[in-house]
């Protein structure tokens, strides 16, 4: 009985930490998605300066915020939160890869204007992404996985 209580308490704090991190990631994805959708035209123009995306900037300008909103939905619902964490990890890896590619190969880095993150330069953005990746990985490692028949904490 004592062992069962200790196990249950462990599940509760792991749930709280992973839910807290999921909430922070949800905040980041929702803010950036709404920010892009509030001025799709400007976002599309910015994508035209990205060597890999310039030919498909318009559909990509819609696809990225829609993908971000899908991640928000997955993170919002407890039933799909684990999938949301995997999806956000994938998105962050792609975005960090894009930033590193731009820093390494773009002859002139375009202005990273807009949103709450406009005070960040490209290198600071990479550092922020690495921090978010670390948080995301932590949430996945802490995410409580219950064996069949086990009661989940309320």
């Amino acid at each position: 009985m004592k062992l069962c209580n200790r196990k249950s308490r462990k599940y509760v704090w792991r749930t709280w930490i992973s839910d807290g991190i999921s909430g922070s990631l949800l905040l980041v994805f929702l803010y950036t998605a709404v920010n892009k959708l509030s001025n799709v035209e400007a976002f599309s123009m910015g994508l035209k300066e990205v060597p890999l995306l310039k030919q498909h900037s318009e559909p990509v300008a819609w696809a990225i915020p829609i993908a971000e909103l899908s991640i928000v939905l997955l993170l919002f619902l407890p039933a799909t939160r684990l999938w949301g964490l995997f999806a956000s990890l994938t998105a962050l890896l792609f975005f960090t890869g894009y930033l590193l590619y731009m820093i390494a190969y773009a002859p002139h880095l375009p202005c990273s204007c807009g949103g709450v993150l406009n005070s960040l330069g490209w290198k600071e953005h990479v550092l922020l992404n690495l921090f978010l990746l670390l948080l995301n990985t932590g949430a996945l490692l802490l995410y409580p996985v219950y064996s069949p028949g086990e009661r989940t904490p309320p």
């Binding site: 905040l27 002139h108 202005c111 406009n118």
Partner: protein
């Protein structure tokens, strides 16, 4: 229900930040961004040159840059200083002043009332 607390808090923060920050400007501001690729880098004469190959139109009422005075970034002008308010492609009737800091020039002045400029880090 407890498992929705952080998600709901995040949604409320985002809605709040957009509700309080998105104030509609009293007049449209036309935003142009300096294009170093087309104008051959960040030299002082190139930044001061208002031709549409150096300063490219980006859109109306966009946010300006971080304003670190290291290299040119964006200017925002009223409709009196663009070639066409319905289809703007170039700046007109303004003077942009720049100064060199290290190897790159940044904007230090812009003529015309209501116009604004911003720079970015190198």
């Amino acid at each position: 229900m407890k498992r929705y607390i952080f998600s709901l808090a995040a949604v409320v923060i985002v809605i709040g930040s957009f509700a309080f920050n998105n104030i509609t400007p009293t007049q449209d501001m036309f935003v142009f961004e300096y294009d170093p690729a087309a104008s051959g880098g960040y030299s002082k004469p190139a930044v001061e040159n208002i031709s549409n190959s150096n300063w490219k139109y980006k859109g109306k009422n966009l946010s300006l840059c971080e304003n670190r005075n290291e290299k040119a970034c964006r200017v925002a002008v009223t409709s009196a200083y663009v070639n066409s308010s319905s289809n703007p492609t170039a700046l007109q009737g303004i003077e942009i002043g720049a100064t060199l800091s290290g190897a790159t020039a940044h904007v230090v002045s812009i003529s015309g009332s209501g116009n604004a400029y911003s720079n970015q880090r190198d």
